[in-house]
């Protein structure tokens, strides 16, 4: 589905050990970058951060496992009445063995947290130039309403190159609008409005699936995001609009979502 390239993971991972200072600086650097008007597609950031964290934990895991295996291998019991011969810890080394690991682990944690925070800000930084669609989920369908009142079910049709934001609510149980290809999901629920956004760049189709247990048919609650080229999208939208007008429906009025309090808000709305 998605494989990503490795870039300098090893040195990044060892940098982790150097601690919070580095973490802070890398954070500062990346936030400066994100101030530029370009779109920070979080999906791409997800791939590289995911990869990086996996490499980090693999290194930690292998380190621990190898040391353990070594101790196990060298400490087999050879005589029935043999007991262990590990040296007694002095008070100073007991403290050292506590404080030093704390600092090392803490710096790995803070470094990871800093990177996670940067990526989080990309997720919250919804581009102002976007297509905003309302989503009402229900057992068991996804109902989208476009700004001009056009509605679709289980098919979210969007133009390539434009960020898409969903404002979501639910008419019954919890659901979660999950688009694996764009690495996003967020629950929808009655009484609150949640949001998610993604940035489709090329025409194509992407699976949408429900990731929050919502009832008997949970596993069948699926749909598609269909990304069309800008022209095709415009043509499609035109057709839908005329159809809507012919049906005599009020244009931009009456969206599916009931009045509800917003849950987490994006940075800029």
């Amino acid at each position: 589905m998605h494989k990503q390239h490795v870039k300098g993971k090893m040195c990044r991972a060892s940098a982790a050990v150097c601690g919070a200072v580095l973490a802070a600086s890398s954070w500062a650097a990346e936030t400066a970058q994100s101030a530029a008007p370009k779109i920070n597609d979080p999906a791409r950031g997800w791939d590289s951060l995911w990869h990086e964290v996996i490499v980090d934990i693999t290194i930690i895991g292998i380190l621990f496992a190898v040391v353990t295996a070594w101790f196990v291998f060298t400490s087999r019991r050879t005589a029935g009445n043999q007991t262990g011969a590990s040296p007694k810890l002095s008070a100073a080394s007991a403290v050292g063995w506590t404080v030093l690991p704390i600092f090392i682990f803490l710096s790995i944690d803070l470094y990871t947290a800093a990177n996670g925070w940067v990526l989080w800000n990309h997720y919250r930084d919804v581009p102002a130039d976007r297509l905003e669609v309302k989503l009402e989920s229900g057992m068991y369908s996804w109902d989208y309403t476009y700004p001009n009142g056009v509605r679709t079910q289980n098919e979210l049709i969007v133009p390539a190159g434009k960020p898409v934001m969903l404002r979501m609510t639910s008419r019954d149980t919890l659901h979660s609008h999950y688009i694996p290809d764009f690495r996003v999901k967020e629950d929808s629920m009655p009484g609150r409005v949640t949001y998610l956004w993604f940035h489709p760049t090329k025409p194509g189709e992407h699976l949408v699936t429900c990731a929050e247990y919502c009832g008997v048919m949970h596993s069948y609650m699926a749909g598609r995001v269909i990304v069309k080229s800008a022209d095709e999208y415009a043509a499609w939208m035109k057709r839908e609009e005329t159809q809507l007008a012919a049906a005599g429906a009020p244009a931009a009025a009456e969206t599916g979502a009931p009045v509800a309090k917003p849950a987490a808000r994006p940075k800029k709305t």
Partner: protein, 523 residues
């Protein structure tokens, strides 16, 4: 054998054995549920049932019973009951009748949980029981609420009992710095239970009240809020994973140090840094289960940091476990194999929690099989291995007999291989998008072969567990006599006869000044 003296017993060892029998029975049933689920998932579309509700009920029963009916009772019921009074040199617990009440309440809870198979409209709300589904389903939500309430109450009175016991009933000379790590770990777990179980009790009561008594806690139309439940639920259920983790890692400490005949490395670091750190942090991380639930941003970010920081106390405990092995004298007995298995497999499970702790990463993998893989590694594999290690380790003590080493090892290797096949594959397909709680994965046909592999692995894994259980049953009936101290451990429980009589010792044991539960070498 006098049956009345077993059923109505107030003796901590017998209460413990009752806990053991009940929790293993729960494990067997929940394990069979897992096999049914795996069978269903072995092909796309209906396989062994055409009704998704059946699958959902199995999954509900599997999750709820494994956690609430198997692991928590086995750890804070069986091990705590059997070991704590023996380890601190007490003749029994502070309130023996309360102890008997807690074990029978546990049985009542398990009966309610397993009643799912006999009642119409069984609960199908998953072990998390989120509203609004749990308040609108035709399934019997009340059964879930009462199961949790009764097991929770059993756990609370058990906690009160043990905290009092350790505070007031230690034998002379057993100071706080001479308590077994297991005792410390379990005390930590009980403190967590006392603080957090009532919150869970409240949460699950509220859904039944909303459903049956017409209240409006979670009904937005009347001013309620659905997220309240999720916060209350995870405010308990995250600490609950440390209620499992703490005693199980305590068992691993005992087993490793006994079979490697080596003192626990840096005892005080484990007690104050490890256990203390976990107890302090456990209540500040629950939002990591709500990263995709529309929580406020400051909560998601704040709890990313606290969640990551949990790796510090846990890491300190891992260092101590590994350090204990340094220049030790390891006998590769069955309990030791399981305990070493925990060290390796918990590393995988714990470390795969790290990416989950980062909200921006969790947006993609939350509610997928990646999460399922993570928690089966920490809990189903590491936790169960630790429980098995402990049962094998204290088997000579509580039964007076020896199990069969060869079958023990065969069982171990089958489960070791089987678990890695099943749960590693889960994480793999999870990252690629496989959502959890799916009866059918018709729109993910690419995962069919992986699911088949997992089904096959689950059979191997289950076989290994079944062999272990059979080994105990046969060993308890016809194993050779084990002797009082087959492992050569200085810990206090090995100084009495096997199995220990009522009252444990004729008079309270007294310990030498230089005694320590881990003083393998004299001097």
């Amino acid at each position: 054998m006098n049956l009345k003296e077993w059923i109505f017993t107030t003796d901590h060892k017998r209460v413990g054995i009752l806990y053991l029998i009940g929790s293993l029975a729960a494990f067997a049933v929940a394990g069979i549920m897992a096999l049914l689920m795996r069978a269903e998932l072995s092909t796309i579309g209906p396989t062994i049932t055409a009704n998704p509700t059946n699958y959902n009920v199995w999954l509900y029963t599997h999750g709820a019973v494994m956690i609430l009916g198997f692991q928590i009772p086995a750890l804070t019921g069986f091990f705590a009951n059997f070991c704590i009074p023996l380890m601190i040199g007490a003749k029994d617990v502070a309130f023996p009748r309360v102890n008997a009440l807690s074990v029978w309440l546990f049985y009542v809870g398990v009966i309610l949980a397993l009643a799912t198979f006999f009642i119409p409209d069984p609960p199908d709300i998953m072990w998390t029981g989120y509203p609004p589904y749990s308040t609108i389903t035709t399934g019997n939500t009340a059964m879930y609420s009462f199961t949790v309430l009764i097991l929770g109450f059993a756990s609370i009175i058990g906690g009160v009992n043990f905290l009092t016991t350790v505070a007031y009933m230690r034998a002379p000379g057993i100071t706080l710095n001479k308590l077994n790590i297991f005792v410390w770990c379990t005390l930590g777990a009980f403190v967590l239970q006392l603080i957090f179980v009532p919150v869970l009790g409240t949460a699950v009561s509220l859904i039944s009240m909303d459903k049956y008594l017409g209240t409006n806690f979670f009904d937005p139309a009347k001013g309620g809020d659905v997220l309240t439940y999720q916060n209350l639920f995870w405010f308990y259920s995250h600490p609950a994973v440390y209620v499992i983790f703490l005693p199980f890692i305590g068992v691993v400490f005992e087993v490793i140090s006994s079979h490697a005949r080596s003192a626990v490395f840096n005892y005080k670091m484990v007690v104050y840094g490890g256990i203390g750190g976990i107890v302090l942090l456990a209540g500040e991380v629950w939002v990591h289960h709500l990263y995709v639930s529309g929580m406020a941003d400051w909560l998601r970010i704040g709890q990313m940091v606290t969640t990551l920081m949990i790796s510090i106390p846990v890491g300190l405990m891992m260092i101590s476990l590994v350090g204990t092995l340094y220049k030790s004298s390891i006998a590769f007995t069955t309990p030791m194999l399981y305990a070493l298995g925990v060290v390796f497999l918990f590393l995988i499970g714990g470390l795969t929690g790290i990416p989950l702790a980062v909200p921006s990463l969790t947006l993609a993998v939350s509610d997928t099989y990646y999460v399922v893989g993570h928690f089966h590694y920490v809990m189903a594999v590491a936790g169960t291995f630790a429980i098995f290690a402990g049962i094998y380790h204290w088997f000579p003590k509580f039964s007076g007999r020896m199990y069969n080493e060869l079958w023990g090892k065969i069982g171990f290797w089958l489960t070791f291989i089987g678990s890695n096949v099943v749960f590693w594959t889960m994480m793999d397909i999870g990252v690629d998008g496989m959502p959890r709680r799916y009866y059918d994965y018709a729109h993910f046909p690419q995962f069919e072969s992986a699911h088949q592999l997992m089904t096959a692995g689950a059979v191997v894994l289950g076989l290994g567990f079944a062999i272990a259980v059979l080994n105990w049953i046969i060993g308890a009936m016809k194993g050779p006599p084990a002797g009082d101290n087959p492992w050569g451990s200085p810990s206090l429980e090995w100084t009495t006869v096997s199995p220990p009589p009522h009252g444990n010792w004729p008079s309270p044991p007294s310990v030498a000044d230089d005694w320590h539960p881990y003083s393998y070498r004299k001097g």
